[in-house]
Amino acid sequence: MNVSEVERREHYLNVNYGIRSWLLTTDHKRIAWLYLLSVTLFFFIGGFFATLIRLELLTPQGDLVQAETYNKLFTMHGVTMIFFFLIPSIPAVLGNFLVPMMIGARDLAFPRLNLASWYIFILGGAFTVMAAAAGGVDTGWTFYTPYSSIYSNTHVVLTVVGIFVTGFSSILTGLNFIVTIHKMRAPGMTWFRLPLFIWAHYATSIIFVLGTPVIAITLVLVALERIFRLGIFDPALGGDPVLFQHLFWFYSHPAVYIMVLPAMGVVSELIACFSRKRVFGYSVVAFASLGIAVIGFLVWGHHMFVSGQSVHAGMIFSLLSFLVAIPSAIKVFNWTATLYKGSISYDAPMLYALGFIGLFTIGGLTGLFLATLGIDVHVHDTYFVIAHFHYIMVGGSVMGYLGGIHFWWPKMTGRRYPEGWARLAALIIFIGFNLTFFPQFVLGYIGMPRRYHVYPPEFQVLNVMSTAGASILAVGYLLPLTYLIWSLRYGTVAGRNPWGARGLEWETPSPPPTENFERTPIVTEGAYAYEKAPEEISTLGRPAHV
């Protein structure tokens, strides 16, 4: 198939042109692109803050920036990365693009709500960027009271308004996914024929709709306290600062599952495709996703073991935290078992998927250290925690996101990216990541606290290692940015199914037409029917064509 043939065929990208056709689109695939551009921007903004942090930490003294600036840097790094990159990334980009396609629908249940959710996201981002430009906020992304509600004299209200607004974007996305998955599956697409990507996004959406409102109201209360001096969290006025922590973590713990479950969904798809085998223990993996979402709501107190919470509460939360680790472990074993007697290829998406499994394993196992009460007392609020969550969020979620972007890039753009560069980038990212964050486990155990602008000299060698790793990681991230953009114009034209994958999204042309499918698919097979030849499972009633 040549370029001119592609250009002649009508698809969702060329069906109309102009800025209005993009800013007023209701096509879930275009909205996915709007999100893609936005989250990429926020990723590099958050990355910029991280760069300054790691540069400052090269030396024990605070010689690059002042203390107050440093405090704003780590706060803005956290806020930007969590609320404006990690939480939306896979669901709002890959989820928006793929959920309707994978279930055989023409769009999400509420396309206009979908567009509204992007505008709300941008509005929230605008507030937060304004707060940063006006001088930033220095409370930490966790906004603990009474520092945030009374003592800080930075732009707390503006920032929490930004996060509050963006939260509604999440809620609407989750709502859209839940209704779509329940009501718009193609004929024959029963629950247990759904790809695991869908199960993962369904579980994530439950957390979106039930958890996000709680942080919304909590931040409203902090803002009201700041503006009207209410005293809800102010001990001098009879309030309880620890109550804030309970309300905050009630959402923010499930939020981390919002960040990892979609990546796990991506990994299931990648492992299956690049082993050419169905995922081992499909229904176990599906239920594990739901289990993680449910139990994830019951463990928030493990962020508060030394907060003044009672010893008994600590014990209950510790026990539940171990229980929530089990479904994740089960998934790792199932993915590994999928490789057994498979037919494995090492394309870039697979490298990201395998990297995810390895790094998520380490991140998850170090979570056990934190769930263990006797150890958490020592490592809480140290670099050990920072290392743990970056292993999951960067080693896990970001790698899952990149793997997914690479995998579905041909479908989304009709172009292939340069495979050699992609594999190199994956390797650089893997190495850079480990060098950045593994030393932080040691740093934490030997006692370096979090959020420290200056530190005792014996911590310097490990900090230098970490910064060196970060510079490699930065190169690794700039590579895909470059070659993916390059591929839009110069990449090889992609066919319908360049990976030989299974799934309804691979049965439409690349890029797909606006309505996704020329005829509604009729599903007769479960997901991952790799043992069958493509022609045997074509659902469109005619031979598959490239």
Binding site: G281, A329, G358, T372, G374, H378, I446, Y452
Partner: protein
């Protein structure tokens, strides 16, 4: 082997070795399972690499017993971790009864300590080796945290409440103290050191330097100055209950509930007297909020805690 950086902090308390032992156990489990997964992935990825484009591997749905096995083993291991960790945690939170008591008041961005004998310190804490030490801590402003890595303990320091932390040092030396709950601009400057001395040296340190009144004596003078004696004088009066032997007792409140008279209860009763009213008394105690500092409150509490002995002595006469 000199790496240029330490791998572990010093073990300088009775807890440290226990925490490290549990840590080693988790490291071993982590290394084992991480290595296992890495190994399996590498072996499978190499052994089953695609050799031709039209390979179609046989589908494998799953294996029930394998799922049970790799659910049960992690569950078993994690329960061991849980129990072991919970036991250590329980001990971390239960100081022995004979602990030496020291008060800590944290504020942006410094630590103030006062020994029972009256010795004050700023950003430093002198303690004896081989003796349990219990810190009663509060903050004057935001949430702080006392972190003693060499002792493997940490505890948030809250405004409006007391929290406690205890340790027993096993080695003389100087160890870092870090504030470990972000508290504003100079959070990373809010560091101090714990100076552990041999018992004889510690006694010498206590008696040397600026001698002042002990905390109990300072508390007694505050008790007089604020007129507490008027209502809570020896044996109590019709206005207010006796405070002798109060500390640690169960107090019956109006409405039928009870409360244990600990430091938090006494502090609250001074600052917010109407919050918990003792059964049989009128709510007439005025509040002393704004009139007494956090250090003053700790001194009053030390005095009230000491009242048991005095009362018994008076009764014996």
């Amino acid at each position: 082997m000199n790496l240029g950086f330490p791998l572990f902090p010093e073990q300088a308390s009775t807890m440290a070795a226990r925490v490290d032992a549990l840590f080693y156990f988790l490291v071993a489990v982590t290394v084992f399972f991480a290595a296992l997964i890495f190994f399996m992935i590498v072996v499978f990825a190499v052994k089953y690499r695609r050799r031709s484009e039209d390979e179609r591997p046989r589908p494998i749905e799953g294996n029930f017993w394998l799922e049970i096995l790799w659910s049960a083993i992690p569950l078993g291991l994690t329960m061991v971790m849980f129990v072991w960790g919970a036991i250590i945690y329980f001990d971390i939170y239960n100081p022995p009864n004979d602990a030496l008591e020291i008060s800590i008041v944290g504020r942006q961005w410094m630590w103030k300590a006062q020994h029972a004998e009256g010795q004050r310190e700023i950003n430093e804490l002198h303690v004896p080796v081989g003796q349990a030490v219990k810190l009663t801590m509060t903050s004057e402003d935001v949430i702080h945290d006392v972190f003693l890595p060499a002792f493997r303990v940490k505890q948030d320091v809250l405004p409006g409440r007391y929290t406690t932390l205890w340790f027993q040092a096993t080695k003389a030396g100087e160890y870092p103290l870090f504030c470990s709950q972000y508290c504003g601009t100079q959070h990373s400057g809010m560091v101090g050191r714990v100076v552990v001395l041999e018992p004889a040296e510690f006694e010498k340190w206590l008696s040397g330097g600026a001698t002042g009144l002990s905390m109990i004596d300072q508390g007694a003078s505050l008790f007089k100055r604020f007129g507490c004696e008027t209502c809570h004088g020896a044996g109590g009066t019709s206005q207010g209950p006796s405070l002798a032997g109060l500390f640690g007792k169960t107090v019956k409140l109006q409405g039928g509930t009870t409360v244990t008279a600990d430091e938090n209860y006494i502090r609250e009763s001074i600052l917010d007297p109407r919050a918990k009213i003792v059964a049989g008394y009128q709510p007439i105690m005025p509040t002393f909020k704004g009139l007494v500092s956090e250090e003053g409150l700790l001194q009053l509490i030390a005095y009230i805690k000491s009242l048991e002995g005095a009362e018994r002595k008076a009764a014996q006469k």
